[in-house]
Amino acid sequence: MNSTKPLCISEFSKLYGELIAVENLNLEVNKGEIFGFLGPNGAGKSTTIRTMLNFIAPSSGDIKIFGLDSVKDSVRLKEHVGYLAGDIALYGNMTGNQVLNHLAYLRKNSDWKYVADLINRLDAPMDRPIQQLSKGNKQKIGLLQAFMHKPDLLILDEPTSGLDPLIKQVFYEMILEMKKAGKAAFISSHDLTEVQKICDRAGFIRDGKLIATENLQDENTINYRKYKVRFDKIPNISEFKKFTDIRVISSNDKDMIFTVTGSIDTFIKAIAGYKVLDLDEQETSLEDVFMQYYEKSQK
């Protein structure tokens, strides 16, 4: 097994005529790491994933999985990859068992004992034709075919789409088990809570550009806080415009909500000039962090 990084994207760009789908993307995923890939619709997430698997070719740059080139070594590298598409498409007239047998034959290595365990945990219906299954049950079959050969790198696009909360929890356990075994995962998702829950790092992509990469396990590196302040007499919003790291995001008769990306001391001193009745730190979501990076990239 090649000891190089599970995923290494270098100066990757994809153009469709004059449309730039992805521009100069650089990122790496390490062994035993779960990497979240976040972005709005049309940001370039699916384009990046499709290029990794050589569904489409890069316009420039390269993508390597365990040191294998995504184009030249496309067949070899897929021996180490498990993939789940964003909108999973399975063979409607086959049962779950038939789909897995078909794909296992093509892959030539599957751990059937492990598969049986996953089937049990996911409560996946394996004997009914796929076309009769609900979206959630199809997604379970999709997860099974991605995990069945215990790949060294999982590439998952919206992996929990359609799953109920209990099965989502099973999926989180599956991912963490793979992580403990030293495997890596690249997860594209819109579910920011989920990414925050299971990922070690996250990359934010917008309009084809990677605008930030953050370590999610280290809160200190996410220098972004949100405060709700109740004033005795609400100050003028323009009073805070001179502070570049302080922004008022909402205001009513009594309360103002601030986001603070700089020094807390500066913020405290800024509001100290007014009679403060209450100060409450709000929970910061990844969406808030993402919007911060997006707005910075717009400047």
């Binding site: 698997l53 489409i56 993939y83 999973i88 498409a89 399975l90 047998n101 034959y105």
Partner: protein, 265 residues
């Protein structure tokens, strides 16, 4: 490749119902047609002779139904069987990759450690197998009917005609495959190939009425297939060779365009 879970076997298994129906129906039809020769063959012969140049040109001038070879050509191997078999192979050819690309299941295959070449080869072999089974089932039905109804046809001529029919159908299948591979559009593969087969039939048959279109007959696969002539005992090996070359070109275009393009998913 003969494992039940291979792409080849799954492709044939997916078509098991239509394959069975086509095989049974066409074989029974062949037997029915041969059984009717004694009773209606001569009447059709009179109709054919009195039909005039345009009528004879449409069916092929050699397709005089008054003889066993002519009857088989007029009713079966002239237009009907080639078009039926071509419909099957055009459908398979345009859908081999096209249906999976449209539905998204192509991702499952492309995410597996198998090459695009292998996918294309196994899908193509499945189409060839289906065409082989149907064409030879009809041949076997003709052989049986020849005995049952004392038809009196030269079975070697029918066998050679079956080979030519098989090659004819495979060409159109790969033509449809090539159009789909180049354009990523399954419907275009079907419609363009359908147009080609229709127009090529007229290119081949109507040149005796309109001499200005005679050069166009060389663009028609029907010219090289020429079931009626083969059944009369006149086979041109060059025609079979041209069909094989055309098949190879169409396949190569389809194969290399699929292997080298972005997939439309």
């Amino acid at each position: 490749m003969f494992n039940k879970n291979s792409i080849y076997m799954c492709s044939i298994w997916d078509r098991r119902k239509s394959l069975t129906i086509w095989t049974v129906v066409l074989s029974l039809l062949a037997m029915l047609i041969i059984s009717m020769y004694d009773s209606v063959g001569r009447e059709f012969s009179e109709i054919f002779e009195n039909g005039g140049g345009s009528f004879q040109a449409f069916f092929g001038e050699e397709a005089d139904p008054g003889t066993p070879a002519g009857w088989l050509g007029f009713e079966l191997y002239g237009i009907f069987l080639p078009v039926c078999l071509a419909i099957i192979t055009i459908g398979m050819g345009s859908s081999s990759i096209g249906a999976e690309e449209d539905s998204g299941t192509l991702e499952l295959l492309l995410a597996s450690p198998i090459s695009r070449s292998r996918i294309m080869i196994e899908k193509s072999l499945a189409m060839i197998t289906v065409a082989f089974i149907i064409s030879n089932s009809v041949f076997l039905a003709v052989c049986l009917s020849n005995i049952l109804f004392a038809f009196g046809i030269n079975l070697i001529d029918v066998f050679i005609c079956t080979i030519s029919l098989f090659l004819f159908a495979i060409f159109f299948g790969f033509f449809a495959l090539a159009v789909q591979s180049l354009t990523k559009k399954r419907n275009l593969g079907i419609s363009l190939t359908g147009f080609y087969i229709g127009s090529s039939y007229f290119m081949n048959t109507l040149h005796s009425i309109w001499s200005s279109i005679e050069p166009m007959k060389y663009l028609s696969p029907f010219y090289y297939y020429d079931g009626n002539m083969i059944l009369q005992g006149s086979v041109e090996l060059i025609n079979l060779t041209v069909l094989i070359i055309a098949i190879s070109i169409a396949y190569c275009i389809g194969h290399f365009s699929f292997v080298n393009r972005d997939t439309g998913i």
